[in-house]
Symmetry: C2
Subunit: 633 residues, 2 copies
């Protein structure tokens, strides 16, 4: 076991150090224009011929010498004979010898017997495309360093260019390291992990015009690493190692790199992605990425993308920021830059951004992220409500067609997200467990479109809202295989001394549990009272994984994980939304989904739901005096 | 010859009519996640396993039961023995049986002899990733209709998903029609045209997730068209015909479509792209695009892209508009929507947009376009200076790294554009011939970065400007092979009765020609006096094409076209730019290019330039009293 201090250079300094240490000599090749989409020009491309190559008709009509039309007027039309005075001509046809104008067919009176009549004189060179009108031989069609789009291919072919010289893409080696990693397609044994970063990094590389060269997993042995590094550095223009760049006992990457090459730095003052290693083997730059997926993706953005731009000599991409107010306070670390994945709600034309899970290992946070928030090293915290500049991850369209649902948790709510885009093309759902209290606060501030609630009574304090039924759900006690017997109430819980996963503070279910404990005069809290999970699924996953014994949740969750479930109560699961939202595209997409047949089928498949009133408007939306009723919590 | 009236439905109505007439039945297929980048999910994808699958260390450190650390403090550290009390653990490793916490290695004092010491108690489940922390089995990872990105592939593999069901891309037939068309790679005979729209359309299709099925060119014969349409409609999900959709004598497309299927409409109220044909053969939608490239690209955007989105059931992409003021008045047609390609200057943080060439045949206008301006049917004209919403074509980054150069024309100025990106990565040049008067007006308004001038005297009316030498150029009389003898002055021009291509009104060279004619007391203007070309290259291309006999221009142009050239005068070619621009990134990129060796080599290669002072600052910038001097025009 070794403790290591990481370097604390800024990203910018670290990148300068890397770029200063290398000199690329990009290869060039000549390719047909028809295969050149996405390639980058190695030199300026000059037009070989003029387009059009000859004077050509710009309209369908007749070609003639203007002289023959002089004096034409509505009172004294000029009659012309085909062959002698004019020729019919189609758009793009070469102008006949001696003709100097084209008259549009719409202006021509065609006479019986073949001749035509004109009622106004033609103008010289009217409706004639001059040679080179589009592009003239010798003109620069594309500069060097230009990434070729379909429209560029068209202009090149028009200009007589059939082949052109492009920069060869850099070959980038991807070396996954770690004895516990197993590539996709092979079964996992206990303790092994799926190696998926190579797939992600290869996709990134293809998107930015590099050729990924994916290697087999290298085990955590110095000799194996050494051989793999040397071979990749020899064969590739850039090498990406993933991972082994942090400070664990098996993190050999920096040490081996120092042996076979030169380590430029180990660690930057930015999180996640901090424990990156930058090195050179021979003339080949090597970027050692952290193993956590999100950290690896960020460090890839910071160092590998700029290397590829450097190869192509192209400038950095700057996109307009997303201006959003923060829906929640965000904290960073002093002295280090923080990159925080954010979810963005678009309600009533206002963007509101919320931080997502911050762990480097949360791959789903990258799937769900709408934007990055970058906190500079001197910012320890930003308050809720502040306006910030974010960097887009999804597109504005996607964000503006995302329905944001907060409040309580239920797997059936996930299924809305699975279906909404099928019912309303382009729409998707973001669901965040916040509990109903925070949910209502967000609803008030425009931070979400709707709040999920369960039970019958709730304190909205709103006017102009409606309430829509999702389903009635069956709630109960979920126990793992580690529990000696199933649980059917709080008494069992205490008696058996089981490890609970509780609902978060403020949640209605937690309050109900408290009430039940008081009624039982339990005297002490069950073990694990303070251990909470926002999502019923995650709680069930912990039970299935053996780190807890019991939780309270919907029958559907227990069914999915094959856990034991005993009924406790039934309760409605509803959505509350402002009338204005219900009448907007977002609301229509949501209600349409609840009412479709597929949704009912999904509810039936999950189990534990009565979906007979799904999508119904519940009137009145607020039941103030239902204390003691069946639904009360 | 047939005259036809085109329909005048709006684009929106036309698209509704098309979509109402078809029902797609997209095929599905199952593919490995590793091959799924860019594919669209056919159904929601559910996590198969939890990630992590077991409780795992979130940090490098030691795993232990918290109980053994109770009571630890700096004054009373707790000593632990490896094996009995704790195990060393690396990030991602499974937590050992019985352990319920991880202490970061940085907080551990490692003792001689193998034990460790802690100075504070460990917290339960601290630095432990619970099973399913990232994704829990049963959770929805991706909704249906989602286009898969690399980060999605990572999350899918993490969630134990190895294969998934995706929508098969639609097969889109591309039928080029026209007997005069020759595909790339085959030599062109006189009167033939290069068929390049298929290449462009295939690129568009691949970019939007369709499989192009490019057919051979179909000649303009009804039977051939009929057979090609039927076969393509049978084999493909969508058919794109290009062209033959307008009203020329060989435009059979609508007629043949009506015979083999049903024509839904012919023509929309939008330009260019107006003469589009929408039809159905069997169940297959057919879009007949106009032949002019830009018209074809637009009609593709209007009808083919929405068909592909419809296939995938995905929503329309809406991107934030570009807000720019118009640098010049723009006119549209009443009753028709107009799409105008625009060039955008970004000077001092302000976007100013200028219309580019409007012909549907100008492929270079699509290469040069930064944005589209859409004028609705009720707008006949928008004045210069008005703020408008434009649609981006290039990215904001590209536009903001484009140096805009106006003023006089010279091929050497093109070469700055060919080189600037090589000297300053990311930068490109937009050059527009405006003449120096309009150029200075633009410079004053922030519509360009610099103005090219020739000759020695000019009226800037500026302060705080600098003048930079490009080269000294040789100007003279350029004659085509159609001229009976070379021209050496205006006297020859009149005497031989040659057809001139003049410089545009307001240009210094035109003024000089006027002056020479007056001195000669010519009495009449040469033939073609009113025929002008903004660019010397285009004028030379017309000479080479035989539609004119003589023009005045730089030696380099005559050399490139192998035309006869006789010297007339020499003059400096300079750039004028505000000092603030010269000191900005844009100015540095420009001056750096003029001073580099490659630029001098290019000037030497073009011929007719003295490049010895290229990039030098000319002092004083304004020479007021040089009348009668060698350089005066």
């Amino acid at each position: 076991m070794r403790k290591s201090r990481l370097d604390t250079l800024s990203r910018k300094e670290a990148l300068s150090r890397l770029l200063a240490a290398i000199t690329f000599h990009p290869r060039k090749e000549t390719v047909p224009v028809t295969d050149a989409r996405g390639r980058v020009t190695a030199e300026p491309v000059i037009a070989r011929m003029s387009m059009p190559p000859y004077p050509a008709a710009a309209m369908d009509g007749i070609a003639l010498r203007t002289k023959v039309t002089w004096g034409a007027s509505p009172l004294r039309p000029v009659r012309l004979r085909e062959g002698r005075d004019f020729t019919y001509i189609n758009t793009g046809d070469p102008l006949p010898e001696n003709a100097d104008s084209v008259v549009r067919i719409e202006k021509v009176n065609i006479l019986e017997g073949g001749g035509v009549e004109l009622t106004e004189p033609a103008l010289p060179w009217k409706h004639v495309r001059q040679p080179g009108e589009d592009v003239a031989a010798g003109e620069v069609v594309l500069p060097a360093g230009h990434r070729i789009r379909p429209v560029d291919q068209g202009a090149l072919l028009a200009a007589g260019v059939e082949r052109l010289t492009v920069v060869c893409p850099p070959r980038v080696g991807i070396l996954p390291t770690g004895s516990e990693l197993v590539p996709p397609g092979h079964p996992l044994k206990p303790g092994q992990l799926r190696e998926f970063n190579s797939t992600v990094l290869a996709g990134f590389l293809e998107e930015c015009g590099a050729v990924p060269d994916c290697q087999e997993v290298v085990p955590d042995r110095k000799e194996a690493l050494r051989a793999a590094f040397l071979s990749a550095a020899d064969r590739c223009d850039i090498v990406v190692v993933n991972a082994g760049s942090s400070a664990g006992s098996k993190d050999f990457t920096p040490r081996v790199l120092a042996e076979v090459g030169k380590v430029l730095l180990h660690g930057v003052a930015a999180r996640p992605g901090r424990p990156v290693v930058l090195a050179i083997i021979g003339e080949t730059p090597v970027v050692g990425l952290p193993g956590y997926p999100v950290s690896a993706y960020l460090a890839f953005d910071w160092f590998v993308r700029p290397l590829i731009r450097h190869w192509y000599r192209s400038g950095a991409e700057v996109v307009p920021p997303l201006l959003a107010r923060l829906g929640r306070e965000v904290r960073g670390g002093l002295g280090t830059e923080d990159f925080i994945r954010m979810r963005v709600a678009h309600v009533d034309g206002q963007y509101t951004a919320f931080p997502l899970a911050r762990g480097g290992g949360i791959t789903m946070s990258m799937v769900r992220a709408d934007a990055w928030l970058r906190l500079p090293p001197d910012t320890a915290r930003v308050n809720a409500g502040e306006q910030m500049e974010l960097e887009w991850v999804r597109t504005p369209t996607e964000v503006e067609h995302t329905l944001v649902l907060t409040g309580c948790d239920d797997p059936l709510l996930d299924r809305i997200g699975a279906l909404i885009g099928r019912i309303s093309p382009g729409w998707s759902l973001f669901r965040e467990y916040t509990g109903h209290e925070v949910g209502f606060e967000l609803l008030r501030k425009g931070g979400c479109h709707a709040v999920a609630i369960h039970g019958d009574r709730w304190e909205g304090g709103f006017s102009g809202i409606i309430r829509i039924r999702v389903a009635e759900r069956e709630m109960g006690w979920i126990t793992s295989a580690t529990a000696p017997e199933p649980v059917s109430g709080v008494a069992d819980l205490i008696r058996l001394g089981l490890r609970l996963i509780n609902r978060p503070p403020g949640s209605a279910t937690r309050k109900r549990l408290t009430q039940l404990l008081n009624e039982q005069k339990a005297g002490r809290l069950p073990s694990g009272w303070e251990r909470t999970e926002g999502s019923h699924w995650k709680a069930a996953a912990s039970l299935a994984g053996g780190t807890a014994d019991v939780t309270v949740g919907p029958r559907s969750v227990a069914k999915a994980f094959n856990l034991v479930w005993r009924p406790a109560w039934r309760e409605p699961l509803d959505l509350v939304l402002p009338r204005s939202v219900a009448e907007s595209d977002a609301g229509r997409a949501l209600i349409g989904t609840l009412r479709c047949r597929d949704f009912r089928e999904m509810a039936a498949q999950l189990g534990g739901y009565d979906h007979s009133r799904a999508g119904e408007i519940i009137d009145p939306p607020v039941t103030k005096n239902s204390k003691g009723g069946r639904w009360e919590l």
